[in-house]
């Protein structure tokens, strides 16, 4: 039977618990400080994750290829039709883009930031209780730093919270501790997007006097300096008007399917170019 006279063991455990509590409270204030040991753990985990991911992907690819072949003819027809429609749309958008470029030059408007993109592969999805992060295969060796915004094709994904030399951990926007300033594209109403896990996002601080409706598109406002302005966040999926209080309770569907992320873009501020200007 364990004896409480064994004071050394008890003292050791008490010191260990105290150390954990100190680290925990320090992390709450500092928001993921860059510790060497964390970098080392990520660096060791990345190749293991890469190998596992590659083997899982090869199996799932083979399976999905088989599924893909079933009914491919019908899908092919539909896709060709869709391509024609999209081509027509693209021409319209290109015209609009060129027009906007001309007007921008005319008004001498410059972006506040210049970014260059680093493409990275998702090598792991770490979805523990209430925490949503992913691991990517790029790190400080490729110019990544903590706090950098991360995008996927259709919108914002999150931000870098930990970086090792060849891997980085991304805190997804759906994580409950993630907050981002957003605006409704239609009428520029401003609010805060907070992660809500599998429910997507919640748009907070929209007063009941303001005009928001289901289907409204939300983009980043650029306030806070982490995320650039105008990045797609999601679409309002439900506005709860019955909720008591001053503000609406608004659910937002992310523009990104976080369960199917394979490649992401990390935005690196191109400071040199900015200085050069």
């Amino acid at each position: 039977m364990f004896s409480f006279r064994n004071y050394k063991t008890i003292i050791f455990i008490v010191i260990l618990l105290a150390a954990i509590l100190i680290v925990l409270s320090y992390n709450l204030k500092q928001k993921s400080p860059a510790w060497l040991i964390k970098k080392v753990v990520l660096e060791v985990a990345a190749p293991v994750q890469n190998i596992l991911n590659a083997s899982v992907k090869s199996v799932s690819d083979a399976w999905s290829r088989y599924l893909f072949l079933v009914g491919i003819e019908e899908e092919n027809k539909n896709l060709k039709k869709k391509i024609d429609d999209l081509k027509a749309q693209l021409i319209l958008y290109q015209e609009g883009y060129l027009e906007a470029e001309r007007l921008r030059n005319l008004l001498a408007l410059n972006d506040d930031y210049n970014f260059k993109f680093v493409t990275a592969c998702v090598i792991g999805r770490e979805q523990v209780t209430l925490s949503k992060t992913i691991l990517i295969n790029k790190g400080t060796a490729h110019g990544l730093k903590t706090g950098m915004p991360v995008l996927a094709g259709s919108g914002l994904v999150g931000r870098v919270i930990d970086v090792s030399w060849h891997a980085a951990k991304i805190l997804l926007l759906i994580d409950e501790s993630s907050n981002i300033d957003a605006i409704v594209q239609r009428n520029r109403t401003q609010g805060i997007i907070r992660g809500a896990g599998s429910r997507g996002y919640i748009l907070k601080y929209i007063s009941k006097t303001q005009d928001v409706e289901e289907g409204d598109v939300l983009i980043s406002s650029g306030i806070g300096g982490v995320f650039p302005k105008g990045m797609m966040i999601g679409q309002i999926s439900h506005v709860d008007q019955q909720e008591a209080g001053l503000f609406f309770k608004i659910n937002v569907a992310p523009s990104v399917d976080f369960s199917k992320l394979e490649e992401v873009l990390v935005l690196i501020p191109d400071r040199n170019e900015h200085k050069g200007e």
Binding site: V23, L24, I37, V44, R125, T129, K169, S198, S259
Partner: protein, 179 residues
């Protein structure tokens, strides 16, 4: 000594593996936390110092790879180990239904602690739509625990010739097969 040198690497392997498997099976909707079963196993089988260090390393690796707040799962894993250790000193922990039930309770406690932490630290109301997910997670891990213990027992028999018993019950503070 070799154990303490190898354990961090084995922990990384386990965490990465369990996340990948959970991602493939549940598409990220549920968490398959084998690591907590390992912590409970350590509580039932290891001596205090070895178990605390193992739980600490496993929790720390978990935090580094998967968590968003460093220290949260380290604390939870050490507490779960201590709870398992003191329970194993007072109750018979060999029966499979006890292992399943105890794991279920530990997973519930873990989830409750995480919810409480997020509530206190960030002021989140995160219990909406969660209980079903939590219940499902706890059930899956609770059902997996007896299988894990059975497999570990087979491994113990394979390596040491007999099954290990609770460290406290032997009165030696070590796994008998090791002595």
């Amino acid at each position: 000594m070799i154990y303490y040198l190898l354990w961090p690497f084995l922990s990384i392997l386990l965490i990465v593996l369990q996340n990948t498997v959970a991602d493939v099976i549940f598409s990220g909707r549920l968490v398959l936390e084998i690591s907590i079963i390992l912590v409970i196993y350590a509580g039932f089988r290891f001596n205090l110092i070895k178990g605390v260090i193992s739980a600490f390393i496993l929790g720390f690796v978990f935090d580094c790879i998967a968590g968003s707040v460093l220290g949260l799962f380290t604390l939870i894993y050490v507490l779960v180990f201590l709870f398992s250790f003191f329970v194993s000193a007072r109750l018979v922990t060999e029966r499979m239904h006890f292992i399943a039930l105890f794991t279920l309770i530990c997973v519930f406690l873990e989830e409750f602690t995480v919810v409480l932490f997020y509530n206190l630290a960030y002021g989140f109301d995160i219990l909406y739509n969660r209980p079903v997910v939590f219940l499902l997670q706890a059930l899956i891990v609770g059902l997996l625990a007896p299988v894990f213990f059975y497999m570990m027992r087979r491994v113990e028999v394979f390596f040491y010739g007999k099954s290990a018993q609770s460290a406290e019950r032997t009165g030696t503070g070590r796994i008998p097969a090791e002595t």
